[in-house]
Symmetry: C2
Subunit: 130 residues, 2 copies
DNA sequence: GCTTGACCTTCCTATCATGGGAAGGTGTAG
DNA sequence: CTACACCTTCCCATGATAGGAAGGTCAAGC
């Protein structure tokens, strides 16, 4: 399987597969005589794991830690759970921060007439600072 | 006022003040004979506006649009409100995406014993892909 | 066999916002 | 006069991703 097919099968772009290899997140695959990367089903499996971890908001570095745990059959499930819950806390913190911004801004907007007149409490408040 | 004092007074780092000037977000300030940037109270006011807009999650580019609206006394408040509400929608979308990740992951974690045994549904599920 | 087009390779560049640091000039207090 | 804090510009790094250029490879069709 060439990189394009591995990309198709895993949902990770060829560009990103090469990048993940370059930074050491995944193992360099076999090469054909002409230098093409050759992927086996196992590699695609790993790539899918990476894609799914990324889609759950894990950074590439955290994904590397998860991969190591995935491959280490002797680690305690408590280690994995701790990592996951720590990440949940970070995600919820970020979500709350964004939601707080949205709420503040929505509040400011609710005081703005939104007509043709120029006076606007949104800009007034941003300008007043806090 | 030198850049350090302007940074202190506005809450924007000296590094970022120079950067904002370089990309054209803010006007180049006056310079002293020796080439030091010299800021007036008005400049600090603008910097505070920028800091506050950034803290509400507006990108630098959007902040530039807000600044233009702020300075244009003839614009309709509806224009500002539309921009603000569009941004609110984007913020809430991002917040919801993060919260969805957190919820999924918390769900996975709830099925993990979290003890010394190695079997862990979190990694199993990430590996299984979806 | 030869051409064409799809694919692969590496390498360089960009994004966005921010910080770090080097090398060198300035300003001020002791 | 010296020390130290501050300023200047310039370059580099981050994290994850995309775009593109220049050149090699492979398979299908003529």
């Amino acid at each position: 399987m060439n990189i394009g097919q591995a990309a198709e099968a895993s949902g990770v772009s060829a560009k990103m597969i090469r990048y993940y290899e370059q930074i050491g997140l995944i193992e360099p695959p076999a090469r054909s005589q002409s230098g093409y990367r050759v992927y086996a089903e196992q590699n695609v499996h790993t790539l899918r794991f990476v894609r799914r971890a990324r889609s759950l908001g894990f950074s590439v570095e955290e994904t590397g830690a998860l991969l190591a745990l995935w491959r280490d059959r002797s680690r305690a499930s408590a280690d994995v759970k701790a990592l996951a819950l720590k990440h949940v806390a970070e995600l919820e913190e970020k979500a709350a921060a964004l939601q707080a911004m949205a709420t503040t801004l929505r509040h400011l907007a609710s005081h703005c007439h939104g007509d043709r007149r120029p006076d606007c409490p949104i800009l007034d408040e941003i300008g007043a600072g806090s």
